[in-house]
Symmetry: C2
Subunit: 195 residues, 2 copies
DNA sequence: GACGTTCTATACCGATCGGTATAGAACGGC
DNA sequence: GCCGTTCTATACCGATCGGTATAGAACGTC
């Protein structure tokens, strides 16, 4: 029924994802997208709706394909391993050779015009969802005696994700994986029970 | 000699600085600038050259008026106080009520189009200048016995500025000063000699 | 008070922004 | 082989982008 599309929508979405990752939401123009995805504008709008919807689809793909380590890490048996897996997972994603540097969620809309504020808000919410989930995991660790009773789970979760957000900036500035790993070694000395 | 300008160039630059701080380099349009600065386009171009030059002047003003604590902190007598002053200084600047949230250097051009790559590169360089200066200060501390001999000054400087960059993201996402202060308390547990 | 100078105000520039209308090409169903 | 459908290609839309030309207004100087 109807003419078959001449491109692979999944490949095109991946190309869009990488463009948004590198150049941000507003920094990526429709022409950048059509060129990089290898499709024409009507194909883009017909398949993905519009720029904002395309970005949201790319963001979902990003979370599924690059941030999966985060939710997997929450299942680790000890809080320390949870923390280490998360920091190493972020460092890996931010410095993968074949990826753009840094983090899509940070690069996309840190500062932006009014037109992108809805996207900016979404990205802030996504960060807070992750932070809250990590805090819940640490609360459980406190209840289980895995973390000391006087440990503030919210503060500890915020601390770890602040490190991850900082490494995103570092990676976008050219830092390599080994440097981020050494940084994580230092950061983990703050983790309860390290001394 | 000629008609006197009807606006205060310093006030106008401050207004531009705050716009760039909040909306980033590309997210701030010339119309945003002329509206916010209360001047017309010919006045803007006549006084500040063009958008890029205006941004660079705003960046210089930012470093002088909001980042001065950094260079002052380097003069503190102990490495620990240097580190604390720097982290608190960043947290203060990033959460000042009358300021836009976060950090101009982070908000301005994390992800951007080709047109802003020169700005992006400048901002990366400015971060590295600060990181290198902090590393030199810690090297001195190692020589003076203020930090342990096995302490890697480069890694420690990177760690602290990664925290600062992370708090910039947190502040742009709505975190308050008290939350950042508690985060800094945790981060400082990694600092050599804390236990 | 005419002059050169420096500002401001308006109107305009080509280019690009995100998005779409129109026409034609490629399919399955009948 | 014609039909409805769905894709693609081109050309186009108004709006906005950064930047400027032109004209007039406000000054000090002579």
């Amino acid at each position: 029924m109807g003419r078959p599309r001449e491109f692979d929508a999944d490949d095109a979405l991946q190309a869009a994802l990488e463009l948004f990752w590198r150049k941000g939401y507003e920094g990526t123009s429709i022409t950048d997208l059509t060129d990089g995805m290898g499709i024409t504008k009507p194909s883009l709008y017909g398949t993905f709706g519009n720029k904002e919807e395309l970005f949201r689809m790319a963001l979902q793909r990003y979370e599924e394909n690059y941030m999966a380590f985060f939710w997997k890490a929450l299942g680790q048996p000890s809080a320390r391993i949870v923390a280490l897996d998360i920091l190493h997972g972020f460092a890996n994603a931010q410095t993968e050779e074949c990826n753009p540097g840094g983090c899509l969620g940070i690069n996309a809309a840190m500062g932006c015009s009014e037109a992108a504020e809805a996207i900016q808000k979404t990205l802030i919410e996504r960060r807070q969802v992750g932070q809250k989930a990590l805090a819940r995991r640490f609360e459980r660790a406190v209840r289980e005696g895995d973390l000391p009773a006087d440990c503030n789970a919210d503060d500890l979760a915020r601390y770890l994700l602040t490190i991850a957000q900082g490494t995103a900036v570092q990676a976008s500035s050219g830092a390599g994986r080994e440097e981020l790993y050494r940084l994580i070694d230092i950061a983990m000395k703050s983790f309860p029970g390290s001394n």
